[in-house]
């Protein structure tokens, strides 16, 4: 699978939450896309990833 365009391999990654924890993302201000579709926060724990998934995690910091 790909995270932000880079190939990642880790047998322990089963759900989106595994990635969030493993890569130390701050869950408060991120949005996640899997194969170009938005996955909402409440689904992150249960969302099962498969081998060919392309995941984009976008963090937002304040200021406009």
């Amino acid at each position: 699978m790909k995270l932000n365009g880079k190939e990642i391999k880790n047998k322990n990654i089963k759900t989106l939450m595994d990635i969030i924890v493993l890569y130390n993302y701050d869950i408060k201000n991120i949005a996640i896309l899997v194969n170009d579709h938005v996955v909402k926060k409440k689904q992150w724990k249960s969302y099962r990833l498969s081998e060919n998934d392309e995941i984009e995690i976008i963090g937002f910091v304040g200021g406009g």
Binding site: N29, E56, F60, V61, G62, G64
Partner: protein, 209 residues
């Protein structure tokens, strides 16, 4: 009185001018990023805007926002509309003076059917829901993340995906750094450039078809 369209003929083809001038822009946030983005876009020929902001012009905003001293206290949406019309008097500009929530945004997208949505707000959570909702509705969105500080414009990134772009250094929050004109204006200009790219890419694709 000149027609703005004739100016554009110096820079774009007829197809490009048509596409640019027909593109409906929904601009959320009319502060540091938003006022600068709108200024750049109207000069580039965009002439169809919906401006959303709940704030009024404060004197401290003048460090980076395209407003004038005499506009102090005015609604930013109204002040910005007036400023844009000074550049192109035939621009069509709708204004919404409101702090919008998720439901408001959905309604506005359904009602106005914008071609491009620009996220130019302060708050992280608002940025996030604008990003998520616009993509859910299949719209194009140009966001900003990391616009504060100075001296590190080489860290400004353009992250492109299908239907979205994020511009900024992705790190520096206004919680820790000040929003200053040089970097804020740089990010705003890049956001505007990405809007132009998205719109002109569509023209190219149509030609290929």
């Amino acid at each position: 009185m000149y027609k703005f369209r004739t100016i554009l003929q110096n820079y774009f083809t007829q197809d490009e001018i048509d596409k640019i001038s027909q593109t409906k822009i929904l601009l959320i946030g009319c502060g540091g990023l938003g006022s600068n983005i709108a200024n750049v876009l109207v000069r580039t020929g965009f002439s169809y805007f919906i401006l959303i902001d709940y704030d009024r012009v404060e004197i401290k905003n003048l460090n980076r926002q395209i407003f004038w001293q005499e506009q102090y206290g005015e609604k930013k949406v109204l002040a910005l509309k007036k400023n844009l019309l000074k550049i192109n008097s035939s621009a069509q500009i709708k204004i919404i003076h409101k702090k919008i929530d998720k439901e408001d945004l959905k309604q506005i997208i359904l009602k106005e059917s914008p071609d491009v949505i620009i996220e130019a707000v302060d708050d992280e959570m608002t940025k996030k829901f604008i990003f998520e909702i616009t993509l859910k509705y299949g719209k194009k969105v140009v966001c900003a993340s990391g616009i504060a500080g100075y001296g590190d414009c080489d860290n400004i990134k353009i992250r492109r995906g299908r239907n979205f772009v994020i511009v900024g250094d992705m790190k520096k929050s206004i919680k820790d750094y000040k929003p200053l004109a040089p970097k804020v204006t740089a990010v705003a200009a890049i956001q505007a450039d990405e809007v132009l790219r998205m719109v002109l890419d569509d023209v190219k694709e149509k030609k290929i078809k």
